[in-house]
Symmetry: C2
Subunit: 401 residues, 2 copies
């Protein structure tokens, strides 16, 4: 009972500190963090992150005993932080383009989120801190005073996987007040993420709210399933920084085929049975980033008549051999005419600093060789959510027109 007893003695101040708004440094539950009358530390009033009016970002972390601390994220200007005499490490970037960013600290080899920042992006195996640099460029993804749709967590039973699975569903403003049916857009995340990614760092709901409010996009239902499938215990491991073995690639291939079943035989029927979606291929869109782009490509090559609007982002044939891919997908490529008749938009996008650039160009070449109608757009930037949010904001307005 010692923990309970200590709680009884130390928690009253702890809770009041919370209740009346003292700065809370701990990431440990207040009720489990004995505080007593301890001396104050710089951590009590430490602020991180801080964004200046000129869009510079200052990161701070209290680590008096650490010998090396760095901050890194999907922005320029991260790196080693400097320590002051009080044990507070800090780093200030140059002006960052207004946008959302993810980052984390590395404290003497221990990677951690920012203990002072509760904005969190969760993955299947990692957690990042998030920050917003507000400004004109990030207006499209900001939480604005416009009519908001709902982002729903729903559960369905997957026959393919034999377990209950969660997905996120965006329903447009007014969905519950009306009876009309909507087109449906299946939006896939990348490796390491789950069905929450597009609703945290992906900002999908806010991007759609803003597009719909300004009349730039049609109201639609956006379905964000979990593309990270459970792996067999004997799944071949690949060490970080090493290339996957042929066995590992084959195992990944099998998992990707399962996802095709998962989406078409489990997710889509659940969605069509539980939400007011318009029938017909012309009311169905599909897009994905990175691994989700690979899943999207596999879905349309194996089921070319299911989706009229398709986006493949930061993926292409990454890793794969184009000739081999061309052979494997001969059946699809031979149907180019039929596919071109069904698909109103096949948009392929990648950044010029994205490792998927080469694979994307390979895909473009093979599709062109077989007259598969598509667009290729190469823009600035790397393999980051900065691009994927931008792609969503430019793709959604073109859907269901």
């Amino acid at each position: 009972m010692s923990v309970l007893r200590s709680r009884r003695h130390v928690l009253l101040p702890g809770l009041f500190a919370l209740a009346i708004g003292a700065n809370v440094a701990t990431t440990v539950p207040a009720q489990a963090q004995p505080q007593g009358q301890r001396a104050r530390t710089p951590n009590d009033t430490l602020k991180s992150v801080e964004v200046s009016p000129d869009h510079k970002v200052t990161f701070r972390i209290y680590a008096p005993k650490a010998s090396e601390v760095s901050v890194n994220g999907d922005f320029k200007g991260g790196g080693k932080m400097t320590k002051d005499e009080q044990g507070v490490w800090s780093l200030t970037t140059g002006p960052l383009r207004p946008d959302f960013y993810t980052y984390g600290f590395n404290v003497d080899g221990v990677r951690t989120v920012d203990p002072k920042n509760a904005m969190i992006k969760q993955g299947i195996a990692n957690v990042d801190s998030m920050l917003l640099v507000p400004g004109e460029e990030s207006e499209f993804e900001a939480t604005k005073d416009v009519p908001h749709g709902e982002v729903r967590q729903a559960w369905y039973r997957s026959a393919t996987l034999g377990e209950p699975r969660r997905l996120h569903v965006y329903t447009p403003p007014g969905y519950d007040q009306g009876t009309e049916k909507y087109p449906v857009f299946y939006l896939l995340h990348g490796a390491g993420d789950d069905d929450s990614g597009w609703s945290t760092i992906g900002r999908a709901g806010f991007i759609m709210d803003n597009l719909i409010a300004s009349g730039k996009a049609r109201p639609m239902i956006v379905v964000m399933p979990n593309g990270s499938l459970p792996r067999p215990t004997n799944f071949p491991r690949t060490a970080p920084g090493t290339a996957p073995s042929p066995e590992a690639r084959a195992a990944m291939e099998a998992i990707q085929n399962r996802f095709t079943d998962e989406l078409l035989k489990d997710v889509a029927p659940f969605v069509e049975g539980h939400y007011r979606v318009l029938p017909g291929v012309e009311n169905r869109a599909l897009a994905g980033l990175s691994m989700g782009g690979g899943q999207t490509l596999r879905l349309i090559t194996t089921n070319p008549d299911r989706f009229a609007y398709v986006g493949i982002w930061s993926a292409g044939l990454f890793g794969g051999n184009p000739d081999e891919w061309e052979k494997r997908n001969a059946a699809f490529l031979d149907q180019a005419k039929a596919f071109n008749g069904t698909v109103k938009l096949l948009s392929i996008r990648v950044g010029d600093g994205d490792f998927a650039l080469a694979g994307t160009k390979n895909l473009d070449e093979v599709l062109s060789r077989h007259d598969v109608k598509h667009e290729l757009t190469i823009n600035d930037g790397g393999h980051t959510w900065i691009n994927w949010r931008k792609y969503l904001s430019e793709f959604a307005p073109r859907l269901f027109r």
Copy 2:
């Protein structure tokens, strides 16, 4: 462009490591974490947390340079961890009662979530890791293969606060397929949390799913608003471990009064306008824990005719003077008869190890003195979610009968 360039070079392996299921140690975005051909470390395959069949929990963190590492949470057996020759710190608890728990590490004074565990509970100023010890006792809150309702994130415009605000809403299984109306239960979180708390560590949706599936609770809508109101910049600070000043108490009082307006003038009208809720006091329940229990108490004393079922958990008159409270609430206390006629259940609960025990007993005494009909139940345990989930699972079945 150095970051982008380094990305182009290092990310392919990084992404494949993710894509094909290598253990991902980092909490930093894969694309921002140069990995190159770096040497492997014990962190690559480190597992945390690990729950043994006999319900012991092992925590591990790779911190080769740290001199002191501890783990603490809302369970017994946390504390200082021990380091092995590879730089991995670990601690194994004794058998824990099957339940959900929150915890965090302290690495040389830096508090961090578990970098190896993506189960996260978010607050307004803190982030905790979560773990589940599966077993018979945690079945009531587990994700089971039963019909699931939805947990929705919705946004409304608060006139009281003059900003868009988010709330979480649980709709029961089948809500979208039917047209019937449901009773509504307003469920409030505690200090330091936001509207997501009851849906992460609170497990509200799963608890309701399981109760409804077993016929123990009526299908109902559960509304979980954000009770942590924005504070004026001149809000009096209270250092952790110190008692609040009279000014700080007064400021908190003003904020609590604003929450009464927020719930009755903004949240409830939004809910009644957007969800199929049954009208009438007999179809309205309200409960809250800790700060939310204080908000609940304030709501019913100022609006005694609005809710027929009320729960006050781990709150009571904590901190307050009973005689002073009795004076301030004379108007309410004098209406005991009318209140007793309206309210079918006023359930007051607290743990015997909870710092709110004394304040709860004070509330019980004052209410008894004025013949305000209520129940007082004191059970084991402290000021923890372990109790609050239990209270929800025992309160919900008694609603709207």
